[in-house]
C-alpha cells in the first residue's frame, strides 16, 4: 500500500517536470482559459442587442412623412442610419452589411392619410444575420406602431378625449413578458455560461489525450510505467493528478468569475452547479482516456477529440434547441458531456429545480468516467508494446 503512494508521487514528480519543461501545457490550460474568459465577458458587455442600424426609404417626400421620420429618429429604440428616396440604394446598403432593415414610406402616404384611406407601409429585414435581423424586426414593429398610434391619437384628441382614456383605447390588450430567470433578456448570460465551461472541457479532453499520447509518440511510456512500478492505475492517477488540480482551480475560478463578479444569476444551488462542473471536467478527462485508448496514436486521437468536442457546442442545444434536431442527432447529443452539463446548468442556475432533475445528468457524466475503464487493457498494451505509428 505504501509503495503505491510512493509510486504515485514518483509519477507525479516526473509529470510536473515534463509539464514545466514545455510551456504548451500551461499555455493551453491557464492561458487559453484566461483569454477566453476575458474575451467573452468583454465581448458581450452590453448583453443584449437593443437596436440595429436601419434605413428609411421616403418615397412620399412630404412634410408629414418627414415629420414621421423625425419622430422615429427621436425614439431611443430606433437607430436610423440612412434616409433615402431610392429603394435600390437602401438594398445595396443592406447587401454591404451596413443596415439590417429597410422601412418604406409609400409614395401616396400623405394623400391617403388626409383622405382617411389606409396607406400601406412596407418593411424588409435581413435574415442573413439572425440576431441583427431579429432586432431590426422588433424595431420595425415599433416604427409601425409609432405611425399607427400617432395617427389614432390625433383623431381621438380631435374628438376631445383625455390622454389616459385614449391610451387604453389604443392598447386594450397587453402582454406582460416574463423571461424566466433572465429578466433582462441578456444574451451573454445563456451564451457565456455554457461556452466557457465548454472551452474548459475541450482543454481537459485535448490535454489528457496529449499527456498520454505524447508518451506513446516519444516512446517514453516504458519510463512512465517504470516510475509507477508497472501499475497502470498508479501510472494514470499519478499522471492526471497535476492536470486535474489545474482544471479544478480553473473550474472554480470560472464559476466565481461568472456568478460572483459578472453577476450572472444562480437561482438554485451553487454547490450542485459547481459539483456538476467538476463532474463535467472529470467526464471530459475520462473521454480523453477513452479516445487515446481506442486510437493509441496521438495524431488520430487528437483529431477525433477536436472534432468530437467542437460538435459539443452545437449538440448541447444551448443555441439551437435540441427539440428541433433530427431524432438521430438528438440521440447523439447525449454522447456529449457538455449536453449534460448544460442541462444541470439549466436546472440549477435558471430553474432552481429539485435535485432529482439533475441526478440523471450527473449519473450520465459518471458514466463517461466508468466508460474509460473499459479501454484500460488496450491502452496498457499500447504503453507496453508501443506498437502504433509515431506520427
Amino acid at each position: 500500500m505504501k509503495y503505491i503512494f510512493i509510486n504515485i508521487w514518483r509519477v507525479m514528480q516526473r509529470e510536473l517536470k515534463m509539464m514545466f519543461a514545455r510551456p504548451l501545457y500551461l499555455f493551453a490550460s491557464v492561458g487559453v482559459m484566461l483569454l477566453s474568459t476575458f474575451f467573452f465577458l468583454t465581448l458581450m458587455q452590453g448583453g443584449s442587442a437593443e437596436k440595429m442600424p436601419v434605413a428609411v426609404v421616403d418615397l412620399d417626400q412630404t412634410s408629414i412623412s418627414r415629420r414621421l421620420i423625425h419622430e422615429m429618429q427621436a425614439t431611443p429604440s430606433v437607430d436610423i442610419q440612412l434616409i433615402t428616396n431610392s429603394y435600390p440604394e437602401a438594398r445595396e446598403a443592406m447587401q454591404q452589411g451596413k443596415i439590417y432593415g429597410i422601412f418604406v414610406i409609400p409614395e401616396c402616404f400623405y394623400d391617403e392619410l388626409v383622405s382617411f384611406k389606409r396607406p400601406k407601409m412596407d418593411f424588409y429585414v435581413t435574415n442573413a444575420y439572425t440576431v441583427g435581423g431579429n432586432t431590426a424586426y422588433k424595431q420595425m414593429l415599433t416604427m409601425v406602431n409609432l405611425t399607427s398610434g400617432a395617427f389614432q391619437r390625433e383623431v381621438l384628441r380631435k374628438k376631445g378625449l383625455p390622454d389616459d382614456v385614449i391610451m387604453h383605447r389604443i392598447q386594450p390588450l397587453a402582454i406582460e413578458g416574463h423571461m424566466v430567470a433572465n429578466p433582462w433578456g441578456n444574451y451573454s448570460v445563456y451564451l457565456v455560461s455554457t461556452i466557457l465551461p465548454g472551452i474548459l472541457g475541450l482543454i481537459c479532453l485535448m490535454l489528457t489525450i496529449f499527456a498520454i499520447g505524447f508518451e506513446l509518440k516519444m516512446r517514453t511510456s516504458h519510463a512512465w510505467l517504470k516510475a509507477a512500478g508497472g501499475n497502470y492505475t498508479v501510472a494514470m492517477i499519478g499522471k492526471l493528478i497535476p492536470y486535474t488540480l489545474i482544471y479544478i482551480i480553473l473550474g472554480i475560478g470560472c464559476h466565481i468569475i461568472l456568478y460572483r463578479f459578472a453577476g450572472f444569476p444562480v437561482y438554485g444551488s451553487h454547490t450542485r452547479l459547481m459539483f456538476g462542473l467538476l463532474l463535467f471536467i472529470f467526464a471530459m478527462e475520462a473521454l480523453g482516456i477513452t479516445l487515446i485508448g481506442l486510437l493509441p496514436t496521438l495524431r488520430d486521437a487528437l483529431s477525433i477529440g477536436a472534432l468530437y468536442s467542437m460538435l459539443g457546442f452545437s449538440l448541447s442545444g444551448f443555441t439551437y434547441p435540441q427539440m428541433a434536431m433530427l431524432p438521430p442527432v438528438k440521440a447523439l447529443s447525449y454522447l456529449e458531456p457538455l449536453r449534460h452539463y448544460y442541462l444541470i446548468y439549466v436546472n440549477e442556475a435558471l430553474m432552481a429545480a429539485p435535485v432529482e432533475n439533475s441526478i440523471p445528468h450527473m449519473l450520465a457524466l459518471t458514466g463517461f468516467m466508468l466508460a474509460s475503464l473499459f479501454v484500460a487493457p488496450r491502452l496498457y498494451d499500447a504503453l507496453v508494446y508501443q506498437n502504433y505509428p509515431l506520427k
Partner: protein
C-alpha cells in the same frame, strides 16, 4: 531565373508529397473539411423551431381567452400541451422542462376587455435556456395579440358611436407588409452554415499548415528560404482553392442552403481569402515547434474568431478594441464577404471593401512571412536553431520495463 523557378517548383512538389503522405494532415485537409459541413447540415436540418410546448393557466375561463388560445395554438410556432389549474402546477412543468413557456390569463381578463376603459393583461413566461424558445413563443403570441386587439378596438370605437367603416380605417390606418429578405425560411441553419463553411476552410488550413510546420521542425527538415515559402504556398493554395469551390460553390446548391450570389464572384473572392489564410498561417507556423502545438491555437481561436467577426453577435455590438483586432483575421472579411455575395446576392463590386481588405491582408502577411522566414534562415545557417531532437533519436527517457 529559370533555376529559381525550378527550385520553387521543386519546393511545391515536395510540399504536395508531404501533404499526401501524411495521413494526419490528409484527415484535416480533406476528411474534416468535407465531413464537417455535412455534420452541421444534419445538425441544423430543421430550420425553424416549431411546436414549442406551452402550458396554459386560464383563471378567467372566458370565451375571449379560449378564442385567444385557439388562435395561438393554430400558429406553427407553439403547441398548447398542458392546461393547469394554478401557476404552481405550470411552474413545475417549466422546471421539469416539459414546457418552455406559460401563458397566464388573470381572473378579470374578460371583465377588463368588456370595460371600454379597461386594459386586459396576459402574462407570458418564457424559458430562457435558449433564445430561440423565447423568439418562437413571444413573437407568435404578439402576432395573435395584435390581431385580436384590432377587433376589440373596433368594438370599442363602435360603442363610442363611430361607424364601423371609420373605426376600421382608424385601427388599420397604417397597415404594413413585412418581408424577410434573402433567406425565405429565416432558419438558423441558413444563417449559421454559410459562416461555418468559411470558418472550416480557415481553421483546417490554419491547423494543417501549423501541423506540417511542426512536423518539419521535429524532423529537422524545415526550410526557411523564400523559394520554399512560395512553393509551399502554391501547394496549399491549389488544394484549398479546390476545396473552397466545393464547399462554397457546390455545397450550398446541393443541400438547399441559400445561394443567390453569382458563383463567379464567390470564386473571385476566394482567391485573396485563401491566400490571406495561407500567409497568415505560415506566419504563425514559424513559432510552432511541435506537430501538435497548433492544436492549442486551433481550439482556442475557433470560437473567438467566429464571435469576433460579428456574425452571430452583431458587429455593431462588439467593443471597438475587439473589432479592430478582428480586422487582422482573414476570417472576418472572408465570412462577411461570402455572406454578402452568397446569402444576400451582392456583387463583387458591392463587396469591394471585404475583397480589397483580403488583398491587403494577403500582401501584409506575405511580407511578414518573408521577413520571418528570412530571419529564421539566417539563424538556421548560424546553427543556433532551437529545434528539438527527433523523437526516435531520443533514447534518454527510454528504459526497458
Amino acid at each position: 531565373m529559370k533555376v529559381e523557378s525550378l527550385k520553387i517548383l521543386s519546393a511545391f512538389v515536395n510540399e504536395l508529397r508531404r501533404i499526401f503522405r501524411d495521413p494526419g494532415v490528409m484527415v484535416i485537409f480533406i476528411v474534416a473539411t468535407l465531413a464537417y459541413p455535412l455534420i452541421y447540415k444534419a445538425l441544423y436540418w430543421n430550420e425553424q423551431i416549431t411546436n414549442v410546448p406551452v402550458a396554459v393557466v386560464d383563471l378567467s375561463n372566458s370565451p375571449q381567452s379560449r378564442e385567444f388560445l385557439h388562435q395561438w395554438n393554430a400558429t406553427p410556432d407553439i403547441r398548447l400541451t398542458h392546461t393547469c389549474v394554478s401557476m404552481k402546477e405550470a411552474e413545475q412543468l417549466l422546471r421539469d422542462q416539459k414546457v418552455h413557456g406559460i401563458i397566464y390569463f388573470p381572473r378579470d381578463f374578460a371583465k377588463q376587455l368588456a370595460d371600454p376603459l379597461g386594459q386586459a393583461r396576459i402574462s407570458l413566461y418564457c424559458d430562457m435556456s435558449s433564445f430561440l424558445y423565447m423568439k418562437a413563443i413571444y413573437l407568435s403570441c404578439n402576432q395573435v395579440m395584435l390581431e385580436s386587439m384590432r377587433n376589440i378596438q373596433i368594438d370599442r370605437y363602435e360603442q363610442m358611436g363611430m361607424d364601423k367603416e371609420f373605426a376600421w380605417a382608424l385601427v388599420q390606418d397604417a397597415p404594413y407588409t413585412e418581408t424577410a429578405l434573402f433567406t425565405p425560411t429565416g432558419g438558423y441553419g441558413s444563417f449559421l452554415i454559410p459562416a461555418v463553411l468559411v470558418l472550416i476552410l480557415h481553421q483546417t488550413l490554419f491547423f494543417g499548415i501549423c501541423m506540417l510546420g511542426g512536423t518539419a521542425r521535429e524532423e529537422g527538415l524545415d526550410q526557411y528560404s523564400i523559394r520554399s515559402l512560395i512553393g509551399r504556398s502554391i501547394a496549399y493554395f491549389l488544394i484549398y482553392y479546390a476545396l473552397a469551390a466545393i464547399l462554397l460553390g457546390f455545397f450550398p446548391r446541393l443541400f438547399g442552403i441559400p445561394h443567390i450570389g453569382a458563383i463567379g464572384d464567390i470564386l473571385l473572392l476566394m482567391i485573396p481569402y485563401i491566400l490571406a489564410v495561407v500567409f497568415f498561417s505560415l506566419c504563425v507556423s514559424v513559432f510552432i515547434r511541435n506537430r501538435e502545438s497548433g492544436l492549442v491555437i486551433l481550439i482556442s481561436t475557433s470560437l473567438i474568431f467566429l464571435f469576433m467577426a460579428g456574425i452571430s453577435w452583431p458587429k455593431e455590438m462588439i467593443p471597438d478594441e475587439w473589432r479592430y483586432l478582428s480586422f487582422f483575421i482573414p476570417y472576418t472579411w472572408g465570412a462577411h464577404g461570402f455572406i454578402h455575395i452568397n446569402s444576400m446576392g451582392a456583387t463583387l463590386w458591392q463587396t469591394r471593401m471585404e475583397y480589397f481588405a483580403l488583398w491587403g491582408l494577403t500582401v501584409g502577411y506575405f511580407a511578414i512571412a518573408c521577413i520571418l522566414f528570412y530571419i529564421k534562415n539566417i539563424r538556421k545557417n548560424d546553427g543556433t536553431t532551437d529545434r528539438i531532437p527527433s523523437p526516435t533519436g531520443n533514447g534518454t527517457l527510454q528504459t526497458g520495463l
